[in-house]
Amino acid sequence: MYIHKNTVAELRKLVPDIRIPIQKNKRMLKNPQGALGRIWKISKDVSDLFKEERVELGKERADEVRGYAEKREAIKYGDTHEPTMEIAKFYLQDRTLIHKLFNVFVPRFKDYNQCYTNVYLAPTLYTFEKYPRKLPLRAILELKGHPFPPMKPERIPTNNWIHNILLEEARREYNQKKAAAEKAENEEASSLRAEDEENEVD
């Protein structure tokens, strides 16, 4: 059966891309203004993230901001859609960032099948004010495709990688064959020598 391309919705538009557990209840991000102040706080962080592409935040706040940074309306509808422009104006407080969104980030993330952000946990900090104690964890939020050096190193090679296993097996086979061939040559030579000795005796 032939199905036209336009009739079937793309899977990546239906299935959520972020492969991380999301909290059922949203965090209110303690502030006196309530739910409105929460979004205002998030909009600050989102605009910082889009400006600098790598931001350090509190762990829980970074997790909360991440969902808002991954909004896909700009890619879906473009810059001629009015509701998307309203959202962009609200979450990006600096007006120049709206140009950056449609000129830089939309072409960058157009063909992504993964999520657009990464989160790493920073190492712990200790203070000795008042009394020695451990400070709450901080996280590093970043957009993918940034110009900075990578936060984590590349995968470090081990012997368990498939091509390393195969190469090792191949090397072993080669050595075994080589040893067998040498052994055979030696045997032949020894047998010939023995025959020669017998002939001499006769």
């Binding site: 600098e52 790598r54 950056k100 830089v104 920073a122 050096p149 390393n164």
Partner: protein, 209 residues
């Protein structure tokens, strides 16, 4: 036994409360009502003047009687006790405990906690990111950004007339490129794009020797 203690406590509370009324010279009521006594500063202006139990004759004219006295420490707390209250003790409640889940970083060899970044690598990376961010800030100004960035360190030379390289805007960073931040992922060493210096052969399969 339990009931006995409760009743005893109950009686002591009631007795202490009643004694305040029984003795006219008790400090409790005097101190408490001293604030609102009709001669003090905080006294409300009553519609009806009080006459009878609380007259000026009953009130003493000392300074202490006009204020509430809260509880204060009676004895000095020793150094050992003070420190154990702040930090805790290994025998009792331990506020600071040693970290046991540690691993060694395979890149630099420093210890790091499980699930977190290595502190040595983290500090190295963040130093470079900060320098790139500063270069960004100087380059941008107030104009909107319409192109992606191509980072060019001090020892690199990118040939361009408009300040663009393959459709990317060149960011000049006044630093040398660190050896661990290679240009391409397959290249194991630092190499400039000008082609003047020799390029080492990449090791794409990461084969262990």
């Amino acid at each position: 036994m339990k009931n006995f203690i409760v009743t005893q406590k109950f009686y002591t509370v009631i007795n202490s409360f009643l004694n305040a009324f029984r003795k006219q010279e008790s400090s409790f009521l005097k101190n408490f009502y001293g604030l609102f006594y009709p001669g003090s500063q905080l006294a409300p202006v009553p519609a009806v003047t009080v006459e009878g139990f609380w007259n000026e004759d009953t009130r003493q004219n000392s300074e202490l009687d006009d204020h509430i006295l809260w509880g204060v420490p009676k004895k000095r707390r020793s150094v050992e006790v003070r420190r154990s209250r702040r930090i805790g003790s290994f025998t009792g409640f331990c506020k600071l405990y040693p970290i046991k889940k540690l691993l060694t970083c395979l890149v630099c060899g420093h210890p790091y906690e499980v699930g977190l970044l290595c502190p040595n690598c983290y500090s190295k990376v963040m130093k470079v990111t900060q320098s790139i961010k500063d270069a960004m800030k100087n380059a941008e100004g107030r104009d909107p950004i319409l192109n992606e960035y191509e980072v060019a360190f001090e020892d690199e030379k990118l040939k361009s007339e408009d300040g663009f390289y393959k459709g990317k805007r060149i960011l000049e960073v006044p630093e040398k490129r660190p050896s661990w931040f290679a240009k391409k992922l397959t290249q194991s060493t630092n190499a400039s794009l000008s082609g003047e210096t020799a390029v080492s052969r990449p090791n794409p399969l990461h084969i262990k020797k």
